[in-house]
């Protein structure tokens, strides 16, 4: 952890201030929104991980969570809707020394950007993907998403959602992610620890962070701002290594949280170097398990 400089005249610094573009504060996130908490967890994890932050890049897509790239004081890219992962893929392949953090929302990563998520996980592209899941499209005013629960109301499902949502950890696992975890923004220590672990881990890591959207989701589903947090507290079941097929979010029966997958397999770059660029291997000798 970095020491906090104690200056007598100035306002005391927040311990994460050196990772924030303070000249861009106040941020755009609404009162009661959980993205800031997930963002703080991410910043705390970046510090705790000990990775070289000068070589760390945050890439976001479009949406409320996508604004994170605009507040982090790292090299940061706010790309097009759904395309953070392929943009990050290009950065990683151009310079494998870079640590890639994709921070974006459920709509961005799993609807418009779903195809890229699937294939980056399949390739085991070395990056950490943090998905803030607030169950709807917040920035555009609360439309149905690929994560909206069955029968939940949104501006485009006014009588209830007729579709079933994705089980994100199952999808990540099925596609080949080597690290998969889910927490809520209320479980901040666990979330921070998971992000820290993921940042230090080679390969495609995925963390789902459930986060309330009281203004656009809660309001239409008879939830007061604290109701979702109460659900996170009362319905959370921490079950590490749970079978990913059992992880559908069910606010009545319970929401299973934990670290579900943590395994090792060679990354895209390791395979590519082994097959196409053996001269790089001689310089850099990564261990290949298969």
């Amino acid at each position: 952890m970095q020491e906090i400089p104690m200056t007598s005249k100035k306002q005391p610094q927040h311990p994460l201030d050196d990772l924030i573009r303070t000249d861009r504060i106040p941020h755009i996130w609404c009162p009661g929104c959980g993205i800031g908490t997930v963002f703080s967890a991410c910043l705390a994890a970046l510090k705790a991980s000990g990775i070289n932050l000068q070589k760390t890049v945050m890439v976001s897509g479009i949406g409320c969570s996508g604004r994170a790239a605009g507040y982090v004081k790292l090299d940061s890219f706010h790309t097009t809707h759904g395309r953070a992962i392929p943009f990050a893929t290009g950065l990683k392949l151009a310079n494998p020394e870079l640590n890639l953090v994709v921070f974006s929302g459920d709509g961005d990563l799993f609807a418009i950007g779903g195809n890229h998520f699937i294939h980056a996980a399949r390739r085991n592209m070395d990056m950490t993907v943090i998905c803030v899941n607030n169950l709807n499209y917040g920035m555009t005013g609360g439309q149905v998403a690929a994560t909206t629960p069955y029968m939940a109301k949104s501006t485009t499902t006014p009588a209830g959602n007729p579709e079933l949502p994705f089980n994100l950890p199952l999808m990540a696992y099925a596609c080949g992610a080597t690290y998969v975890a889910r927490w809520t923004m209320l479980h901040i220590r666990d979330l921070t620890d998971s992000i820290t672990e993921a940042l230090c881990k080679k390969g495609f890591s995925f963390i789902e962070a459930l986060s309330p959207c009281p203004v656009n989701y809660g309001r239409r589903n008879k939830q007061k701002p604290l109701d979702m947090l109460k659900l996170y507290q009362e319905k959370a079941i921490i079950k590490n290594h749970a079978d990913p097929s059992t992880l559908d979010i069910d606010f009545e029966k319970g929401i299973i949280l934990g670290k579900f997958i943590d395994l090792d397999r060679p990354t895209f770059i390791e395979h590519y170097d082994k097959i196409y660029r053996p001269s790089r291997l001689q310089e850099n000798v990564p261990e290949l398990n298969s």
Partner: protein, 381 residues
Amino acid sequence: MKPAVLTGEYFMTGDVACAEGALAAGCRFFGGYPITPATEIAERMAIRIPHVDGCFIQMEDEIGAMASVLGASWGGVKSMTATSGPGFSLMMENIGLGICTETPCVVVNVQRGGPSTGLPTHGAQGDMMQARWGSHGHYEIIAIAPSSPQEIFYLTITAFNLSEKYRLPVLIMTDEIIGHMSEKVIIPEAKLIKTVSRPKPKGRKDRFKPFAPGPNGVAPMPAAGEGYNLHITGLTHDEKGYPVMDVETQTEMMSRITEKIQRNLDDIIRTDSYLLEDAEIAVVSYGISARTSMAAVIEARKMGIKAGLLRLVTIWPFPEDQIRKLADRVKGFVTVEINLGQIHREVERCVGGKVPIFLVGHPGGTIIHPDRVVKMLKEAF
């Protein structure tokens, strides 16, 4: 490691020559997706780019391919992709991101008949206006049109050099006919090839502004990981790169991305001519159709018709001055292109009604026969 520049004489297709030109220009990342008739560029790059310590990846679609190319460019590497009509359509949004974030890269469109799936195995020049305006919003773009495999080799190097110098995606608008045509291609010695790389910033990193233009209107460009804490966004942004949602910032940003092209037209625009000095009728064409036109000009001259060819190498920014000057001294114009009048309208705009102008067009699927151009030259004037 093998040489990036394969000095020698070859019998090569346009697609392969394009890939070799890219490697000679210093391209070290290719993010692609297969599509006829551009696939051979990706296939050549898949073989060759690891030989020069570069990286090839076949992405899941053209949207991802274009995004990866932009990411790689910010990773500090010259990068490109190659596609055809349907893929070009899918790349449009991220081409706009490249323009807005002033990201150097090269996009090759080996044009085929459209619209939609169209004629995958047959050539056309129907995407010329899409190249100009295909991404949303107002912007300037650079697009160039090679006329042979030899020229695509050189113009791919030019495309990279322009993209690095002016920090924007540069489009190579070729077609199936040149892409699949085999001709002699001479690759010169590496030391004879001039390559340009983006200017790197100097001075204090904490005060650096990634969009503060230099003397030629272009800002120096660091890569990710170099300690600048860059913020790069497709939102309207100020010189620091920070999003600012107001009319003043929009106006300033638009000036930056348009004026860097408009102020450097003499450096960017390339045209070529044949028997144009004493010509009474100017034939204006580009790409494969310029070769049709040249054959027609030769034939017309034999008949005593004083025709000459203005070949547009740069299509965008459009060579307006060249056309306007010609309009003051010729009796008429003929444009030749494999579409139903795209560049024709631009020529018409610049001629401004001073002299008559006629189109020899084709809906796509084949080369235009020189006889059709000769017939027009004989009958229209």
